[in-house]
Symmetry: C2
C-alpha cells in the first residue's frame, strides 16, 4: 500500500506473478475492502493463488521509520513480516518506505545469528553480468566488522540468487592498495583478507560498472550516494547524448533511428528488470522495491523473493559465519 503510485501496479504485478508462475502464491496486504474492490475491477475474485490479508494501516513515505512501525502494528509491513514469522508466508515484498520496512523486518523476524547490522543490497547492471552492491542505505556509520558481515551476506546472495560460482568480493575504496581508504575500510580489508571469501581486494568507483567484480561492499552512506549518483548521471548522459544526436541528425531522423536503441538501453539498465533490493541479515526474506515500481518490477520482485526463499540464502549465511568462527 505504501508505494508512490498507489496499489494499482502492485496488484497488477501480483496478478502477473501468479498467472506466469504456477509455483507462486501471493497474499495481498492492505485494507481488505479496497483490495477486494481492486481485484473485482480486474475480474479477479477468490483465486487459488491470490488472496487478501487485512492490514488496515499504511506507513507513508514521510513518516519516521522506527516510530511509525512501533505505532502501527496493523500496517501492511508489520502484518506481512508477522506472516513470515508464523511460517504463513515465505517472503515479503514492499514498495513502501524502505527504512520502515527494514525496521519492521528486524522487529518481527530478528537478525540472523552472527549479524549485528542487516543491510540492503541492490543489483546494478554492468558491461558484463550484474553486480550486487551492499549496503545501499540501511547503515550510515559502519564499523569494520559490519562491512565484513555485509560481505558474507552478499557473497551468499550472489552465489545462490544470482548463480555466481565463488563470487568475487571487492571492497569499495579510493585505491587498489591495501592501505587505501578511510579508517573503517582499512580495517575491513584485513578482516576480508583473513576470511574464506573470494576477496579480490579494494575496488575503485570505476570498477563497479566494469563487470569484473560480483559483490561490492561499502557502508550505507557511500552506497546510497553511489546508487543515486548513478541514476542521476545515467539520466544526464542520455539527455546530453540525445541533444548531440538531434543536433547532428536533426530531431525527426534522430527520433526514428535512435529511439529504439535508447529504449533497449533503458531496458538493460532498468531496475525493474532486476526485481527489488534484498534485505540481508534478517531472519526471513524481504525485498524492497522502488516506490515508483511498475507492475513488471513488482512481478520480478515477487519472482526474486520466491527464489531467495527457495535457495535458502539465510542458511548459507549462517553456515558461513559459523564455519569462520570455528576456524578463528
Amino acid at each position: 500500500m505504501g508505494g508512490d503510485r498507489g496499489s494499482g501496479p502492485l496488484i497488477d504485478g501480483a496478478v502477473q506473478a501468479v498467472e506466469q508462475h504456477p509455483g507462486i502464491e501471493v497474499l495481498l496486504l492492505g485494507p481488505e475492502e479496497l483490495l477486494r474492490a481492486e481485484l473485482a475491477q480486474r475480474g479477479k475474485g477468490a483465486e487459488t493463488r491470490l488472496s487478501v490479508v487485512h492490514a488496515p494501516q499504511t506507513v507513508s513515505m514521510d513518516e519516521a521509520a522506527v516510530d511509525s512501525v512501533r505505532r502501527k502494528k496493523d500496517s501492511t509491513i508489520m502484518v506481512g513480516f508477522d506472516l513470515v514469522k508464523q511460517g504463513q508466508a515465505d517472503a515479503l515484498v514492499s514498495a513502501g518506505h524502505s527504512g520502515a520496512t527494514m525496521t519492521a523486518a528486524i522487529l518481527q523476524l530478528g537478525r540472523l545469528k552472527g549479524i549485528s547490522r542487516p543491510s540492503i543490497a541492490s543489483v546494478f547492471p554492468t558491461l558484463k553480468e550484474p553486480v550486487l552492491v551492499t549496503d545501499i542505505g540501511a547503515n550510515v556509520d559502519c564499523r569494520p566488522q559490519h562491512l565484513y558481515q555485509f560481505a558474507v551476506m552478499a557473497s551468499s546472495c550472489s552465489e545462490l540468487l544470482l548463480n555466481r560460482a565463488k563470487p568475487r568480493v571487492g571492497l569499495l575504496s579510493i585505491g587498489e592498495e591495501p592501505g587505501k581508504g578511510n579508517a573503517a575500510v582499512k580495517e575491513a580489508y584485513d578482516l576480508l583478507k583473513a576470511s574464506s571469501l573470494n576477496f579480490i581486494g579494494n575496488v575503485e568507483g570505476r570498477d563497479v560498472y566494469s563487470g569484473d567484480v560480483d559483490v561490492v561492499i561499502c557502508d550505507g552512506f557511500v552506497g546510497n550516494i553511489v546508487l543515486k549518483i548513478s541514476e542521476g548521471l545515467a539520466e544526464a548522459i542520455q539527455q546530453m547524448l540525445k541533444t548531440e544526436i538531434k543536433k547532428s541528425l536533426g530531431a525527426s531522423l534522430a527520433s526514428f533511428f535512435i529511439r529504439p536503441a535508447f529504449r533497449a538501453f533503458r531496458k538493460r539498465v532498468d531496475y525493474a528488470e532486476y526485481g527489488g533490493a534484498p534485505l540481508l541479515g534478517i531472519n526471513g526474506v524481504g525485498i524492497i522495491c522502488h516506490g515508483t515500481s511498475s507492475a513488471v518490477a513488482i512481478r520480478n520482485a515477487i519472482k526474486e523473493a520466491a527464489k531467495m526463499a527457495e535457495c535458502q540464502v539465510n542458511a548459507a549465511i549462517t553456515r558461513h559465519l559459523q564455519q569462520e568462527v570455528v576456524q578463528a
Copy 2:
C-alpha cells in the same frame, strides 16, 4: 615531469598557453637539459614568456606521498612551490602524483589562516553549468569543521573562478532532510546552516548532475568514489548505447550518423575542457591535472591557474573566515 605520458603533452600545453595568452608566462620545471632539447625539437629557444627552471628529481606515481616529497627536495613540485613561495611564480600546475603535489604545497606554502585541511576540488559537467565538487580525495576521514571549511573555500572558488553570483552550496548526503546522513554530515549541516554561505541544504547523489547546485561538499573518500564511479559509468553507458545503436542501425550507418554526436558529447564532459583540479586552502595557487592530460588539458589548466591567481580566491577565503569568526 611526473605525468603518465611523459613531458611531451606538458610542454606542448605550455607552448600553446603562452602563444594563445599574451598575459601568461610559463616556467617549465624539470631536468634542464632534457627540457631544452624538447623545446629545441619544437623550434623553441629562449622565448620571452617560456623559460626552463632546473629541477632534476621526479616523484613517480607509485611513491608514498609524504616520504617522497621529504626526500626529494629538488623534485619539480618542491622546486615549483618554492618559486611560488618566493613570489617568482604565481601558481603551479602539475600532472604528477596528486598526493605528493598536495603534500609539497602544504610543506612549501603552508595552509591558509583558519584552514586545517586543504582539499582538492574538481569541476564536473552537468545538464546546466558545471558544478564544483570538493573534497575529491585529499582527506578521507573528515570532521564536521573540515566539511564547513571545504564549503567556504569552494564557495569562494565558484564565485571568483567560475563566475557564480552567490554560489548555491549543497552538502552531499542520503536525503534532503537535515537529520539525514552520517555523523559528520549531520553536524556539518548545522555549521553550514549557521554560516553566511548560500547553503541550500543536503543534496543527494542525483542532484550532482542536475545543475541545480553550484558547489557540492563531501569528504575525500566519498568524493573520490563519486569522481571515479562517474568516469566508469559514463564509459559503460557510452559502450552500452553504442552496442544498442549498432544493433538497431547496423555498424556502418551507426558509425556515420552517431560518431559526431558521441564525439561532441565526450568533448562536453571531458575534464580537459575544464582545466585541472584546484588545490584549496594552501597559501598559494596549485592546480592538479589528470596524469594522462593532453596538451589541451594542460593549456586550459595553465589558463585556469592564471585566472585563479588573478582573481585572488585565497584572499576571499581568508576574508570570509575572518568575518564568520567576528560574527560568531
